[in-house]
């Protein structure tokens, strides 16, 4: 036994200075965000299903895409949304966008610019996509829009052009004209209205991009197959980044959080080892 006034190594380790613990947290989190390493990453069933859904869309298909991301949810959903667009445009899919959130239109512009960077080519308005703009009225607005697109928008897109001036838009006038669709609903925490208003009446296969906290509300629809797949929050974004081989910020963030957890686990294990070591030496420990 050591002398009374002197602390053993284990006792010192037990009162490890909080600043050292904090500094290591700083280092771990920023390191993995900035330099994400590609580790074999277990992809959840949700992410895999979503990826398969995106992959299953045939070449040249015309699809609908409701994008209502908000600035506060953007860090979580950006990667999943942008990479979905990239995957689709690689297959020359033509996309009809609309937004049911006033924040949507400027974010859409950002996303298209980011997708162009990843894609390595410019996408052309009217050829690769059309933006029908902000549709007000939440659920009733969405229902009316999906019932009769020209009726609600007056046949004009977000820039005031006649949508019939684009050859491929001629046959599109309701939710049933799309076989595939996506909705990015940010954090609504409600029963997904696009299942009710889009998938159920028109039978469109829909994929969802949503926050992790919305997952409990939609698991039911995932189980019944009414939602074909979900990119579930930050983890969903990370999984899509991993599956498409575009490792980036979301993956780094998930990795950082995971390694934060690993670090915490190591701390707790070491704390317990030190605790029992010190106890075995017969010292009063707290």
């Amino acid at each position: 036994m050591t002398e009374a006034g002197e602390k053993t190594f284990f006792e010192k380790a037990l009162d490890l200075d909080h600043r050292i613990i904090a500094t290591i947290v700083f280092i771990i989190i920023s390191l993995f965000i900035l330099v994400p390493v590609s580790l074999p990453f277990p992809v959840s069933q949700y992410g895999q299903n979503y990826y398969n859904f995106v992959k299953s869309i045939p070449e040249g298909e015309i699809i609908g895409f409701m994008l209502s991301d908000t600035p506060s949810t953007r860090p979580q959903l950006e990667s999943a949304s942008v990479l979905t667009l990239v995957e689709l445009w690689q297959k020359n899919v033509k996309i009809v966008f609309w937004e049911d959130e006033p924040y949507g239109p400027p974010i859409l512009k950002d996303y298209i610019a980011l997708a162009e960077l990843k894609l390595g080519r410019t996408v052309e308005y009217g050829v690769d996509y059309v933006d029908l703009g902000y549709i007000a009225g939440e659920e009733t607005g969405a229902a009316a829009f999906l019932k009769d697109i020209r009726g609600l928008t007056g046949g004009k897109d977000a820039y005031g052009n006649n949508i019939d001036s684009y050859e491929w838009m001629k046959g599109i006038n309701s939710g049933s004209d799309w076989e595939y669709g996506f909705f990015n609903v940010a954090c609504r925490c409600t029963e997904p209205l696009y299942v009710r208003q889009w998938q159920m009446p028109y039978g469109t296969k829909v994929g969802s991009i949503n926050c992790a906290m919305d997952l409990p509300a939609i698991t039911l629809y995932l189980a019944t197959g009414q939602i074909a797949g979900t990119a579930n929050g930050l983890l969903g974004s990370a999984e899509i980044e991993y599956l498409t081989g575009n490792i980036g910020l979301a993956f780094g963030q998930t990795l950082a959080v995971s390694f934060g957890g690993v670090y915490f686990t190591i701390l707790v294990v070491l704390g317990n080892i030190f605790f029992f070591m010190a106890k075995a030496k017969g010292r009063p420990v707290t």
Partner: protein, 211 residues
């Protein structure tokens, strides 16, 4: 008239009267004609609360001004200057530019909001250090905290659920069974505590609630 009556007793009776009225109106339909009045009182109460922030803010600012004034007594008066500069800049911008002004919003967007996020996220560090201190197998109680805490944390991190998928159902069970039982008991206790406290206030047994 005894000053104690209108200074203390009548306000206390107001609390009792309003409390019993608002509670009773929920159960007895014959009180329905009074509902608009009670709604109005609650609306008035929240409007009046808006004015209350001035007292504390003014005293805080005076405390800082006093520190500046008594420089020699407090070596930290320099920070009070920083406080006063930023307080009055924000205050005057708000007064002259309005709450939506460009400069006001600049301060809000680039100093207040990032600062708030940064401070909120410091909890991560505190949770880590507290966990290091607390999550030890001292006795059965600490073990309960440790085991359920670790399983739940692992269950949401893909690095753990990948190699050990059996964590997820265990964590799900902890979340759906003991945690539900815990908070059910906790919430029932709190509710009875609230009723007891309210009743003691209404019976004028806690005179300190109005100081």
């Amino acid at each position: 008239m005894d000053p104690e009556l209108y200074r203390m007793t009548i306000p206390l009776y107001i609390v009792t009267l309003l409390g019993i009225w608002m509670t009773a109106e929920y159960f007895f339909p014959f009180l329905n004609p009074l509902v608009p009045a009670s709604d109005a009182i609650r609306a008035y109460a929240s409007i009046a609360e808006g004015a209350a922030w001035g007292v504390g803010t003014a005293i805080l600012t005076v405390a800082h001004l006093r520190r500046i004034y008594r420089q020699s007594k407090d070596p930290f008066w320099g920070y009070s200057v920083v406080y006063c500069v930023f307080f009055f800049v924000m205050f005057l911008l708000g007064i002259f530019e309005g709450l939506g002004g460009a400069n006001f919003n600049w301060l809000l967007k680039w100093l207040i909001q990032p600062g708030d996020m940064a401070l909120y996220s410091t909890t991560a560090f505190y949770v880590t250090t507290a966990g290091y201190r607390v999550f030890r197998f001292r006795n059965l109680d600490a073990a309960a905290l440790l085991i359920s805490g670790m399983f739940i944390m692992w269950s949401v991190l893909p690095l753990f659920t990948g190699p050990a998928p059996w964590i997820v159902p265990i964590a799900g069970w902890i979340n759906n069974v003991p945690a539900v039982a815990c908070y059910r008991g906790f919430v029932i206790g709190v509710a009875l505590g609230i009723i007891g406290l309210s009743l003691r206030v209404w019976l004028l047994k806690h005179r300190e609630v109005l100081a």
